[in-house]
Symmetry: C2
Subunit: 308 residues, 2 copies
């Protein structure tokens, strides 16, 4: 195999009570990427379509992730990467993670899979470090593994794939405003009341249980975040209305995607997820904020190989 | 049915990262109780064997729990209760919960089950309020439902039964020292660093996942408590040695049972759990502290009906 074409999924991280640990991959929202074996050693980003992002390898998340992989293996050839961006940077649905994950996945395939998916997460995290200053796995893990992923521990890295209920759908609305990840991080308090933390871990435990037992009501009841959402939602216009209207329209629950500004909702069934999309749009239509909306089932595969 | 004889299981609450939310029931450690329909209204504790506990209904946890149930239903008869205590009060394996749970379970059976198990938890919690000042569900939930239980929320009460891996065994050692629940509570800090809380909820999510997938190694890796154990273990002599030796002997993990002083370990298989018991005993033999030790599979039924 000399080249490979990939679908690199958008992802939702920080799923409510699963702040910093729980993410999921979307099925029909993502970038495309071509990774090609070339005789010249190293990694070259030869084309980026759809966004104005740096082509220099060391300034591009895909390049940095790819180089992290190549630093662990000897090859007498190199790789070219073409990126077709559909995910907007700064939207809160894992734009940088899709590129980092795609690059390491593609190179690993072309090398005959010397590395496990778990190894690939660690390489892709180096792209995240470039993007946000922190080598977090919240988005690259679901991008690579698909489904719901739980980061049990970052050092040492320990990531689990969690069962995905068959009829679970996500709705995501991206209001066209900017929330800087650094602002979203700085606004957080460094400590939390023990009582609130206990509520949070009761909810994350219950959410994981609901995913395994496909108990949609339980999933809904567990989608609560008493710690981060009350603070970060201040940065997102009309967050409370979007959430309330989503739940009125039938969503199981809703919350901030990543560090925002995108807002996600989970629903039982595609029809419900579409109704939720309509309800979300109505809120931003009223306040006059432009948006993108996505309705997607959960992607249980992660990166997908595409036909040329 | 005029009377019923019950096995009321001992329970482990505060399972490591599941502090205040996750508990389990033991299979071969517990009290026996006889509940009998009598013509006189109300609840009378007629016999307590094995421990010196108050017979007055309003001073006895079984009496208080039973009265909480009877306050919700009209009957023109009453109940007598005989309690055969095997679980030592103050041991940290749910002595009061066994009595509270048994009383409400027995009465509900004799009444033809007008209440759900979830209702019974709320009544039994009133016994816990008498015992410790707080109407917590951590022990009464597994005592009534069996298996692992997760208290997602206390107000409103929302308790889940979690899948129990078939070959999971518990070892419990009860050093004969007193740790007051009130002391164990006061020693806790009222707030925790966000970073530590995130570790905790990564672990509880992973532990729940490990229980559903019967992944014993994952269960072991997830049995970490960075918040409560480091503080409370100071109150338990030789805690660190007992834990370390348990894990050396093959335990998946170990922690404080309830608010102590009992220490529990979970193991894959009965033989391993017995080896862990030997390792625990050795530690207390060396420091000269008397103890009780229990090795038990996880009880997935909860309260059991016994033959007379």
């Amino acid at each position: 195999m000399e080249e490979i074409k990939l679908f690199c999924a958008a992802t939702i991280a920080n799923i409510s009570c699963g702040f910093d640990v729980l993410g999921l991959a979307l099925d029909n929202v993502g970038d495309e990427m071509i990774v090609r074996k070339v005789s010249q050693k190293g990694v070259k980003i030869v084309k980026i379509i759809g966004q104005d992002l740096p082509l220099e390898t060391h300034k591009n998340v895909a390049g940095v992730a790819a180089m992290a992989l190549l630093s662990k293996i000897d090859t007498d050839f190199g790789f070219e990467i073409e990126i077709y961006k559909n995910i907007k940077p700064g939207s809160g649905i894992g734009s940088s993670a899709a590129s980092s994950a795609g690059a390491v996945y593609g190179i690993n395939e072309l090398l005959g899979r010397p590395f496990s998916n778990h190894d690939l997460i660690e390489f892709a995290m180096q792209g995240e470090r470039l993007a946000s200053g922190v080598a977090h796995a919240d988005n690259v893990a679901p991008a690579l593994l698909g489904g719901f992923t739980l980061v049990r521990s970052t050092a040492p890295l320990d990531v689990l794939k969690i069962h995905t209920p068959k009829e679970l759908y996500a709705t995501v609305i991206h209001p066209q405003i900017e929330v800087k990840t650094s602002d979203a991080r700085e606004i957080l308090r460094s400590s939390v009341p023990l009582k609130t933390a206990i509520k949070q871990w009761g909810n994350i435990g219950a959410l994981i249980s609901g995913l395994y037992t496909e108990d949609y009501h339980l999933i809904g009841r567990s989608l609560e975040d008493y710690i981060v959402e009350p603070i970060r939602s201040i940065l997102i216009p009309a967050f409370d209305s979007v959430k309330t209207e989503s739940i009125k329209a039938g969503a199981l629950g809703a919350g901030i995607s990543g560090s925002g500004p995108s807002i996600f909702a989970l629903s039982h069934g595609a029809q419900n997820a579409s109704q939720v999309a309509s309800a979300m749009k109505k809120v931003y239509d009223k306040v006059g904020i432009a948006y993108d909306v996505h309705v997607s089932k959960i992607n249980t595969e992660g990166i997908k190989k595409l036909q040329f």
